[in-house]
Amino acid sequence: MTNRLAVSRIQLSEFRCYESLRLSLNSTSVVLTGPNGAGKTNLLEAVSLLSPGGGLRRAKLGEIARNFPANPDGETRAWAVSADLETPDGAFQVGSGLDPAALAQGRERRAVRIDGETKRGQASLGRVCAAVWLTPQMDRLFLDGPSARRRFLDRLVYGLDPEHSSRVAAYEHSLRSRAKLLKEGKGDDKWLASIEDSMVRHGIAVAVARADLLARLSRAGTMAVGPFPAARMALAGDLENWLENLPAVEVEDKMRAALRDGRSRDGAYGGAIVGPQRSDLLVWHDAKGQSADQCSTGEQKALLLAIIMANTRLQTKARGAGPLLLLDEVVAHLDAERRKHLFDEIVALGVQAWMTGTDRALFEGLDGRAQFFRVEDATLTLETTP
């Protein structure tokens, strides 16, 4: 038993640029340095697939498989990630990949195995592994549409509440079912009402879990630590407004009525008039009183890191261990003071962070406190710390 979550072994096969890779690790953080296109982010993606969801690239299952030039016939191969995890609940062997049996029948399906047992659904992954990431693609998180912000928030919720991924999946399944029926003009009133009932039950549970995380984050005290700015966060949406002002039973009735009355509109425009898919995560730089999208690029990144670290502290307290932190090309954008603080806090919290960068020198602050690998052309070499 340990009081941390860490990967102690990871093995990849037919995964992106890796034909096969096997790494044995200790529980300290992992630093991957090397030129662009060497395979650093691919390894982070593999680790992200040990937690629920589609991984840090949200790639389609078939896209992850290794192909050209190794596989010129274009046939999709069954990729796999297998890992030994140390968790506060004991050691687990986790496997995730493209199901070879389904693939043989021409279908792409994710296979999940824990301790050799096949699991249905991905919530089982959430019970043993949580991962949170920050990637260059998320630089525009505060500027782009709200769906990426909701995904970011949901990922933080998974870490504290593994069942959240099942609720989100159930809600989205019902949302898509209703949209299809409305578009085709097929559903009778009772059929649509049954689907809307499922949306109400799961949708409100999703909204409540999100609000609960924000409340816990703000209760955990000020988010400003050291040189990182404090972020103030709120959820905006009809559902959130109702939940704040009305008893849950009334919110259920209200949402049910809104969905029923909104059928013709939703049939014409798609989506649903109300639900957690319409909420937005609002973030402000607390000290400046400025909305995050108005802050400089560097400050936006610092705000995101501040939120991720506040969540890590909260999760360490609540579940006995923080999530795996996957920080892709993050360190290069921090000034020396913030870099030092980030490294010290990662070590102090005992989380295993996987960090990438092109410049080894930027990670000097972790010398002797992390495992350093040089990545070149999909080959990893362990560096001895000076």
């Binding site: 019902s174 009778d188 049954s194 009932d197 799961h202």
Partner: protein, 197 residues
């Protein structure tokens, strides 16, 4: 390696659920070693079953008689109908041998994403059966999946007009299960459907 007939047999067997090419090859080899004891009786049995099999026009079970042996059994009460998604669910409940009423196989679940609607399932037939005077209760035993639960909700709404009592299977702690190992959702469901002892 082997003749076309044998390869064909292996190919056919490996399409069955639970059997891959390797286990199909082992099964075929075993039969080839004991043609009189295994292979010919199996062939006869397959032929006889294929000729006789039929779907029960009352409940949707697969059997060799219509009505099936369950519907034809006078020792089973006519007052309760248990609704299941597929024949395999009916067989699972029969293995448990604790239900002595009637069944109704829907043939799947409502699933707009797969293009399955109420007309594709045996829902109208269920409503008609539930209207019969002797029927007092309908048990919904659909799976605890999103589509299974949506289908149960839909059937409940449709059954209101018949005035029959509608119940569903309990969700919660499995027999012999330890609370510590249950996920939060199952525990919450178990608490909600607690019963007086």
């Amino acid at each position: 390696m082997t003749g076309r007939e044998i390869e064909n047999l292996i190919k056919l067997l490996s399409r069955l659920p639970g059997l891959g090419p390797r286990s199909a090859r082992r099964a075929v080899l075993q039969m080839l070693k004991k043609p009189e004891m295994l292979m010919l009786p199996l062939a006869d049995s397959l032929r006889a079953t294929a000729d006789a099999m039929t779907t029960c026009s009352n409940c949707g079970n697969i059997d060799v008689t219509d009505p099936c042996h369950i519907c034809a059994d006078y020792n089973r009460g006519p007052d309760i109908i248990c609704v299941v998604e597929e024949v395999q669910d009916l067989w699972a409940l029969e293995r448990g041998a604790s239900f002595k009423g009637q069944y109704h196989v829907l043939g799947g679940t409502l699933s707009p994403l797969d293009g399955v609607g109420p007309d594709d399932l045996k829902i109208d037939q269920l409503i008609n059966r539930a209207r019969a005077d002797e029927v007092t209760e309908v048990i919904l035993a659909t799976n605890a999946t999103v589509d299974g639960q949506t289908t149960a909700h839909y059937i409940t709404e449709r059954l209101i007009e018949t005035g029959v009592k509608v119940t569903r299977l309990a969700h919660g702690v499995p027999v012999g299960g330890e609370l510590d190992y249950l996920d939060d959702g199952t525990l919450a469901a178990a608490l909600r459907s607690r019963s007086v002892v």
